[in-house]
């Protein structure tokens, strides 16, 4: 609450401020329209493995001394990986490098039409284990920490449950859906009575990004217009505009969802809720989350409209780890991982948990 000691500035100063901001809005507004999009994903990295559209990156360490256990980031299948490395000062990857982690990332890239055949089996039984082997080899360490954001968390979970004798040391899940009964509007819209997933996948192959984008936008139909009004209001503020542009670029930069993985996600998870019911089978093996015994943390956002709290909250109860923790923070699906809230809340909280377990 505002302190009673803070007296309002004199009227002439307020008028001057309003006039200055109005001028700045117009000047910077023209600059905004004429300038190109901001660069993203600038943290220096080396590509250490490529396979189809998959790229495994190793970020160059910044700290003089790093933690023993390398950290592997796994992205979602529905959005681009640079949300974790937006821009200097707004980059989760950069933050973790500064805190002394040895960071690798699996970037799935943009699926090609022929990738429509990829299933969850390909990601969790082939691609991730393949990359894990390369991380272990490249780092020279015998174990690693795995971090998954959103659907990346789901992939990480399945990997962890099916590779219990593997080199996994710690598991970090961010806003990972586990109980699809709680998926709110997404579940309602994909109701099997009306949503013909077979026809969509059989006809289109990969799910086009504009279809996905439209469904994400429809979750908060008014927010797009309001965010543009806020942009105009804050056009004088360079920091706000810079931040708005990188987020806007990412939000509009959607990628296709591999068709078979979409079909599987819709039928087995959204419709049948098999992961939650302990009935999900991947490659003929049951994904029993109780088999996960590595230390595990699940970071969730209170106001997540993409993966509602209801869909995420039961995860830690389902895994078998003794050392497990929920971290519930204010914010939404994206502001949890990037932006000023993330810098203040999620990043330090995650560092505090992981640093103790990365020795």
């Amino acid at each position: 609450m505002s302190s009673p000691a803070a007296a309002p500035p004199p009227i002439e100063q307020r008028v001057r401020e309003v006039v200055e901001r109005t001028i700045q809005r117009n000047v910077k507004g023209l600059e905004y329209l004429g300038s190109s999009g901001p660069p993203v994903g600038l943290t220096p990295k080396d590509e250490i493995y490529a396979r189809g559209t998959l790229r495994l990156y190793h970020y160059r360490p910044i700290a003089d001394e790093i933690y023993r256990v390398p950290l592997l980031l796994v992205m979602s299948l529905v959005s681009k990986a640079y949300i974790l490395d937006l821009a200097p000062g707004q980059s989760f990857v950069e933050y973790m490098l500064r805190q002394g982690y040895d960071v690798y990332m699996i970037d799935w890239g943009v699926p090609r039409p022929e990738d429509k055949v990829l299933r969850l089996e390909d990601y969790t039984l082939d691609f991730i284990p393949d990359c894990v082997q390369r991380v272990v080899e490249d780092s020279g360490e015998s174990d690693f920490s795995l971090f998954g954001y959103c659907m990346g968390g789901l992939l990480a979970l399945i990997y962890a449950a099916l590779n219990t004798d593997g080199p996994l040391k710690n598991l970090v899940c961010l806003t990972t859906p586990v109980n699809y009964q709680g998926m709110g509007l997404f579940r309602q819209w994909s109701d099997k009575r009306y949503f013909d997933v077979d026809r969509i996948v059989d006809t289109l192959g990969n799910i086009p990004p504009d279809l996905l984008y439209a469904s994400f936008e429809a979750m908060r139909p008014v927010s797009r217009v309001v965010s543009q009004i806020r942009l105009w209001d804050n056009m004088w503020n360079d920091e706000f505009v810079r931040s708005y542009r990188v987020f806007d670029r990412w939000a509009n930069d959607q990628i296709p969802f591999p068709g078979e993985a979409f079909r599987q996600t819709t039928k087995e998870l959204m419709w049948e809720n098999k992961l939650y019911k302990n009935q999900l089978e991947i490659g003929g093996r049951r994904v029993d989350l109780k088999q996960i015994t590595a230390p595990m943390v699940h970071v969730m956002a209170e106001h997540d409209h993409i993966v509602p709290f209801e869909a995420a909250k039961d995860l830690t109860n389902l895994v078998g780890s003794e050392d497990k923790q929920d971290i519930i923070l204010k914010g939404g699906h994206v502001s949890l991982v990037a932006g000023p809230n993330a810098v203040r809340r999620m990043w330090p909280a995650l560092d505090a948990w992981l640093s103790e377990r990365s020795l």
Partner: protein, 129 residues
């Protein structure tokens, strides 16, 4: 942002507060309407229409491209699939070769890396005391 109470000096403060509240209210209103069975049904029909249109368009364009002897999307996709298959086989062959990481990327392997001896802040402060 919505949690901040605007200072009394801000002439646009009330407007910003109204904007925040309106956004929340309208989103809730639309979400309620979109959470109904009727909406899902309409959305399902629209998606079916979109898919049918995409299918018809695709078939028409494909027929036209074939008639003027130009490779179609499915022709390119077929080549792309074959390239992917070759790529996969190369990867699997490469995986079987006993080539250490140093030989694959000698410059990177030779670059010095920081020691993996970092301790968490709690251990560091404990050790110092």
């Amino acid at each position: 942002m919505s949690n901040q109470t605007p200072p009394p000096a801000d002439p646009f403060g009330a407007w910003r507060q109204w904007l925040d509240q309106s956004e929340r209210r309208w989103n809730e209103f639309f979400n309620e309407a979109m959470g109904t069975d009727q909406y899902s049904q309409v959305m399902g029909q629209m998606t079916r229409g979109y898919v049918a249109m995409q299918q018809q368009m695709g078939e028409m364009v494909e027929r036209y491209l074939k008639s003027i002897n130009v490779p179609t999307r499915s022709d390119l996709q077929e080549i792309s699939e074959r390239l992917s298959a070759i790529e996969s086989r190369l990867i699997s062959i490469e995986g079987r070769l006993p080539t250490p990481a140093q030989e694959r990327a000698p410059a990177r392997a030779a670059a010095p890396r920081p020691p993996r001896t970092r301790k968490p802040p709690s251990a560091r402060s404990g050790g110092a005391s």
